[in-house]
């Protein structure tokens, strides 16, 4: 996948991974890995960005004698996802245009 497109999709992908229930770094990577290749190192700046823009909230939970940070989606985060989904037909239109022009 094109790196620029992937970059745009990753934020929404991460939000989708915590949409139903809160999750943590390693689990998010395992969940979205099959769809879009990503490592914890790539995930970290995204989590940081989403937290700073208030799309995610965090809490720390003790697990196996160490701390684990859980990320939960906020209303702003849900809005971000629905914006993406609603905007999809615009992306689809561009996609169709590109395909139409190049297949002539």
């Amino acid at each position: 996948m094109d790196a620029q497109i992937k970059k745009g999709l990753l934020d929404v992908c991460v939000l989708a991974a915590v949409y139903r229930e809160e999750s943590y770094g390693y689990k998010i990577v395992s969940d979205i890995g099959p769809q879009i290749g990503i490592s914890e190192s790539t995930l970290y700046p995204i989590l940081r960005r989403l937290e700073q823009s208030a799309c995610l909230t965090t809490r720390e939970v003790a697990h196996n004698g160490r701390l684990r940070k859980y990320y939960a989606i906020t209303d702003a985060g849900r809005e971000r996802v629905s914006d993406f989904l609603n905007g999809w037909h615009e992306i689809q239109a561009v996609f169709d245009y590109i395909r139409g022009e190049t297949e002539k």
Binding site: S39, Y44, L47, R48
Partner: protein, 422 residues
């Protein structure tokens, strides 16, 4: 690398991040390593899957930008009595690099990644400052250690690995040590030191300026639009080097030797040293002006050439010949062109009168070979040891060369005096 080592290295790589943010980042990475270990991986496997600390730091910096437009850091006296090895990685596009240090050699290489890497050793009592501004990067040693260990010349060094495709300007200044720049392309490159040697190898530049006192200059496979090299009490050697404009090499008490050298305007000047070697092209191309006061010159004055050659010395001979081959184009300033010049052994010059061979010991040839195999500095103390040894060897080589130069100059002088007074 195990978890603890990785986190220590990461903490170091995140030196520009504000403290609270760095702690949060380290906690995150400690957590994911823990989760990977819980899932059955070893610490080493888990760490390897995350990439190097430098990559992580560079990515965080470029994506989130915690570094200000202008940032600076200083490294002042650490409480430790031990030397501290410092490794810094800089991402982003750089147009200027400047290093100002004292009493330690500088080595500059072209790296194989898109980040700039800086390695140096801080001794107790020393202070360094790194400043970044508008694409410029500057390392300044603002305080030297009070107690100077006489063997320190061999112990410390600054190593710069430039990003792939770097083509900005650079200014490297030190004292009592050598500077070596290999493989690279520069806009303006300035080198300055004393009591050491300046070596440039396989590089191109718009302008190359080399200034040295009590040391030798050596240029090998250099292409530039303007080259100016000046030293006192040292020899100058240029091999497979060309300038599209001025090529000026001067020394006071040393010889100048040339091998496959080309330039639009060649100026060679010494006082008590000989000027010898071969210049690309045919004599008719050049306006020649050669003068020695108390020596012999094989060059005769001539006018009318499109290029000019000036050779001046006082108490020694001038023996310059032309290759007879057409110089490969005046605009040639690339290493490819320089490579095509000739395949003669550049390392030796033979004195016709004494039959003595001047030049480097074979080991130093090996040094250069080793250099090309060199990987990036990876924080290994053995590597530092090796560099120390290498620089020590180089220093002793340049001192030996200086001694030989001096001996040669004295012999020349003695001969001149004998000629004059019978």
């Amino acid at each position: 690398m195990n978890k603890e080592q990785f986190l220590a290295a990461l903490s170091d790589a995140l030196w520009r991040m504000p403290e609270p943010e760095r702690i949060t980042t380290l906690k995150y990475f400690a957590e994911v390593i823990g989760d990977r270990v819980d899932a059955g991986q070893s610490e080493e496997e888990a760490v390897a899957a995350l990439g190097t600390p430098e990559e992580i730091a560079a990515r965080l910096e470029s994506e989130n930008g915690f570094a200000e437009e202008t940032s600076s850091a200083s490294f002042s006296d650490s409480a430790s009595k031990e030397p501290r090895q410092i490794h810094r990685v800089f991402s982003g596009i750089r147009t200027r690099v400047q290093i100002r240090v004292c009493n330690q050699p500088i080595e500059v290489v072209r790296g194989n990644s898109d980040v700039l890497q800086l390695d140096f050793v801080q001794l107790p009592g020393e202070r360094y400052e790194i400043q970044e501004k508008d694409g410029g990067l500057c390392l300044v040693q603002s305080r030297t250690a009070k107690m100077r260990n006489p063997f320190r010349l061999c112990k410390q060094f600054v190593r710069v690995s430039l990003p792939i495709g770097y083509d900005g300007s650079a200014d490297f200044q030190t004292s009592n040590a050598s500077i070596r720049v290999t493989d690279g392309s520069f806009d303006r490159l300035r080198l300055g030191s004393s009591n050491g040697a300046l070596h440039v190898l396989r590089l191109t530049a718009q302008t190359l300026e080399m200034g040295m006192s009590n040391g030798s200059l050596r240029l090998i496979q250099v292409g530039a639009r303007r080259i100016e090299g000046e030293t006192t009490n040292g020899s100058v050697e240029a091999t497979e080097t060309s300038s599209a404009g001025l090529l000026s090499l001067s020394t006071t008490n040393g010889r100048i030797s040339l091998n496959c050298v080309a330039g639009q305007n060649i100026r060679l000047q010494s006082s008590n040293g000989s000027i010898r070697g071969e210049i690309e092209g045919v004599e008719e191309e050049y306006s020649v002006s050669a003068c020695t006061s108390n020596g012999r010159s094989n060059l005769s004055q001539r006018k009318g050439g499109a290029k000019s050659l000036t050779a001046l010395t006082s108490n020694a001979n001038i023996d310059v010949s032309f290759s007879g081959r057409k110089a490969p184009g005046d605009e040639n300033n690339g290493e490819d062109g320089a490579d095509a010049f000739c395949e003669e052994d550049p390392w030796f010059t033979v004195d016709e009168q004494t039959g003595e061979v001047y030049g480097d010991e074979p080991e130093e040839d090996d040094d250069f070979d080793d250099e090309s195999d060199d990987g990036d500095f990876n924080g290994d103390w053995r590597e530092i040891g090796r560099s120390m040894e290498e620089w020590g060897r180089e220093f002793s080589c340049s001192m030996r060369e200086f001694g030989k130069d001096l001996k040669h100059s004295l012999k020349d002088l003695e001969r001149q005096l004998k000629d004059m007074f019978g």
